[in-house]
Symmetry: C2
């Protein structure tokens, strides 16, 4: 079973993603390594001892809907109670409302552990923290006073209500509507689908953030407003009032994360005898709801990226343990009696190392993104802008690369288990099932790639990305300067990958500038992978420079996998025309 890899996580936070230098520079005030280590240790203990043992029952029984109420798997409600009692919900939340205001890096590291232990558990509080962030930034003082402390403590949970049947990736097509009631409140009507933790028995109240259109709002995305719609209305003294007209009409039967209730929510249908029209309060300005929601979405994207890291880590641990246990055949490196543990077979080693490397790279990118968020938070002026750009640049990488890695690693994990991998009881297949949602939700990975190319490459007049690449190149130079033979051909191979990346970046920026939007869109997905793999090489090298025992993994990666940059660059530079031509034949007449 999963054991939180606290030492690995701490190492990557500190020595790869920048936490150590930030702590040393006093960027986070009094915060020192001791507290960081203690928090990670304790989060690791809770994830390992409390969350992970409830994974299986969550997968097997799932969330159950009856009469518009969702019952969570046995033991999960109590788990959630202990979890919020531990203060985990408010780890990075504002102190003003009871949070601990620790850096996002720590929040993200803990999030990885909850998700490794049980992804269906980890996803719930992620939504709550998104709601906290949106309310904190955009809501009126009155709404904040009423809701924030309870969302920060975890006494109530929050949700994000965006998707409708006709409006998934394209929110311009939203139809839910909000009518002003004349008393400052609104009545919300409409149907939302795929609402994660839209209904459950963890908490007495649930605070829904809902996108809807006001009457006469402009069409498209500029006519969308954000509303707060509580499951139970809240009295002025904070006690619960009447039931609001928002109900769960169905939950999905999904491939994975069975314990996460994915709800269809009906607003304003007078369901269950409630007064028709769900009562809601406007968050932020009218018709600016999407901007408010994007606050949540960016953090949610990094959080989903952590799910990719998390499931990859869990799948890797399971496969590694099995490979050391299961014996089949003979192997040159095995000198013991009987059959060799399969970990001795080179092909099994290749699969395991591929899993480990993808996990480490995804973790490094995601933590680096969290680091940029933290630095933006504690910086001012130009420095803050720089770090905001960096976080914006890395968010699509953290989301898309990590979640693709989650699927690939979980699939290799099944493979290493052989026939046992296909048997549900073994548990490897469950990771393969869970992992599959992460490349889809919070913006499909294709959309992340488009975001990267069309919105992130232009940051800082197109210079920010080159500054990032220069930092990666400096790592390659450090590898060369280290003169360590154990790095093998790492320096040269990193140089090549980063040259490929520079060339591809220049190409896409030129296409964006000269109206070659189609070529830029065609190259987006291979470009996202290219920048991730090149950055990954530099991150692995940075880790190896800090700790020599990490050198073999870095060398394995650069000598066995980084060559993919050649293909990816070719795809970006020369693939668009044939893609467009062959693509036309796919379109039905």
């Amino acid at each position: 079973m999963y054991r939180a890899p606290v030492a690995d996580i701490a190492f990557t936070l500190k020595h790869v993603a920048g936490l150590k230098s930030a702590l040393d520079a006093g960027s986070f005030g009094e915060l020192g390594e001791d507290l960081v280590d203690a928090v990670l240790e304790e989060a690791g203990r809770f994830a390992t001892d409390e969350v992970a043992p409830l994974y299986k029952i969550g997968d097997e029984t799932g969330a159950v809907l009856k009469d518009a109420a969702v019952t969570m798997p046995a033991g999960w409600k109590d788990l959630y109670r202990r979890w919020i009692e531990g203060g985990w919900n408010g780890l990075s939340a504002p102190e003003e409302f009871g949070g601990q205001a620790l850096p996002t890096m720590l929040g993200v590291a803990a999030l990885e552990m909850w998700n490794s232990a049980a992804m269906a558990f980890g996803i719930g509080p992620t939504l709550t923290m998104g709601a906290v962030e949106a309310l904190h930034k955009h809501a009126s003082d009155e709404l904040k006073a009423k809701y924030l402390a309870k969302l920060v403590s975890g006494e109530w949970m929050g949700t994000m209500n965006l998707t409708e049947p006709q409006a998934g990736s394209d929110l311009a097509a939203l139809r839910s509507r909000a009518e002003p009631a004349g008393d400052g409140t609104y009545r919300i009507f409409g149907q939302k689908i795929f609402i994660t933790y839209g209904e459950h028995d963890f908490t007495d109240n649930i605070v829904h953030l809902v996108l809807a259109r006001l009457p006469d709002a402009p069409a498209g995305t500029r006519g969308i407003s954000l509303f707060l719609v509580p499951k139970f209305l809240v009295n002025d003294d904070g006690s619960l009032g009447p039931r609001n007209d928002v109900f769960c009409s169905g939950i999905e039967h999904k491939l994975g994360i069975h314990a996460s209730p994915t709800c269809t929510m009906i607003y304003g249908d007078g369901f269950g005898g409630a007064a028709p029209g769900a009562i809601g309060w406007l968050i932020g300005e009218e018709n600016k709801g999407l901007a408010c929601m994007f606050t949540m979405m960016n953090n949610a994207r990094l959080a989903v990226g952590m799910q990719g890291v998390a499931v990859a880590e869990a799948a890797y641990q399971k496969a590694l343990a099995y490979a050391n246990e299961r014996r089949q055949g003979k192997a040159a490196s095995y000198t013991g009696n009987g059959m060799a543990p399969i970990v001795h077979h080179p092909d099994v080693q290749r699969n395991l190392l591929t899993m480990k490397v993808l996990t480490e790279i995804a973790r490094s990118i995601s933590y680096s993104c969290a680091h940029a968020l933290d630095m933006a938070h504690v910086s001012e002026g130009e420095a803050a802008g720089h770090w905001r750009d960096r976080a914006n640049l890395l968010t699509p990488l953290a989301k898309a690369f990590s979640t693709d890695a989650g699927v690939d690693v979980a699939s290799l994990g099944v493979q290493i288990h052989g026939g046992m991998g296909f048997i549900e009881e073994t548990g490897a297949a469950a990771y393969y099932r869970d992992a599959r949602i992460a490349p889809i939700y919070e913006g499909t990975n294709g959309i992340q790639a488009i975001d990267l190319v069309t919105r992130k490459l232009p940051l800082g007049n197109g210079q920010h990305v080159h500054g990032y690449i220069d930092e990666l190149k400096a790592v390659a130079a450090d590898v060369r300067a280290s003169n360590r033979p154990g790095f093998g051909r790492t320096a040269n191979l990193l140089d090549r990958a980063l040259a490929d990346l520079t060339e591809a970046t220049n190409f896409l920026q030129a296409r964006l500038a000269d109206g070659g939007q189609a070529a830029a869109l065609a190259g987006a997905t291979p470009y996202l992978r290219l920048i991730s793999l090149a950055a990954g090489g530099a991150y692995l090298a940075r880790g190896a420079l800090a700790s020599e025992q990490r050198q073999p993994l870095c060398r394995f990666y650069t000598e066995n996998m980084l060559g993919e940059s050649v293909t990816l660059k070719e795809r970006v530079l020369g693939g668009a025309e044939s893609l467009a031509e062959a693509g036309r034949a796919l379109i039905s007449a």
Copy 2:
């Protein structure tokens, strides 16, 4: 829902894999295109209209075990009856025992269709045909007379009993034992696991082929014999006699192919009141069981490869249909009203084209393997040897590349469906679940790669593979000679991939010759993918040369995907040392 792509299948059989020239040369006697087309058409109709509609109930209810008896999903028993009445079971079986003796190519094409329609259905008869082949080649005339006709007609089904808990990939560890009864029969004792269709209600009798050890047999693989153990003993008049002491004690709860019962079989335990000791008959010579079983296994490997092709085809069809239906956002190429069908988005096109190309390549390789089997069957002397070598070379490619493609394509299929892809009702997730077993069973893909490098590269004194590569190079030359601008950079890119392949082949052959076994094993998996991708490019080009409308897909492939050959070659040539070094750290103390 799946519709058999009869025209695509016929095209690939005839113009890519060699059936047309073989028919024209009269290699299959009277057999002409008319009959080929009629058989494919009718198989396509049956798969589309009869099998596919029962897929969902098979996935949802699965096979159910009660009191050692397995009940198949509603409608499946009747489906099987209609299927054998159509004569499909004996399509490629010997005429002497009631089969139609049609070329393996046709059998394999039909097999693709059954598996696309329902993989859990397609796998059952595959085992029967393996049993037919093993009995036909190795069994005594008496056993043949008693069993073959009924197995060919499908009145009875057959199974392969190899795996035991401690003996999966490594059959040397088998423990099941067979004791001579003194009357020419044997008593079999032991436990077998993962027995596909080990028990079911399709047929009145089930004929198990079982590997077991005779008393005092040598240790390891040279002490294994093959036995025929019927579920019911068979009287001399062909009627069923007493129940034999072989019982199903459990079926697995699996990730996918739920309707395929995966059984634990208990031999000789006196279960159910049977006389202890399962009565069995020796097939072939004592201690030569593995050789007999390999007859079955090679065909089973190609058959499993077809499952990869099949699930990829089905997943592609579903994703293509959805992409033409689902509308989200705007796209440059869409001039209609409202949101564009997502098939207009370049990134969706890239995913769909990747799916299509992987499917076509897997199909081309697998059909080419079947063609080689057919040609070996109708040839004599040196020619027969050449074609046997070719089939042997292509079998691991057909198995491993196709089944990896099945997983990758099914995963992309889920992705194209967005959130709906994760909902079981949609059906995309079921392909992702089903596909995952194929890279594992009948020899994991890692073992296929080892087989390719250590047993197939040496064929014909190491020259056979180079002859094959020369044929692929001739296709590249034909592309260049065609002078068609629509091929884009295909000729050059094919040349590069084939040069990479030649270099990697030479490298591995040199390592095998100079004792560098470890480097050869380390490079096996990337080499298998390299030869498959390079061959795939040549097959796509051959198709495009025969039909210009196939040119854009070929060009998309060579300009967007074939560049992977560069990485793969580097991995083979330069990856072993760092793999071994990093791999050591994986081994538990």
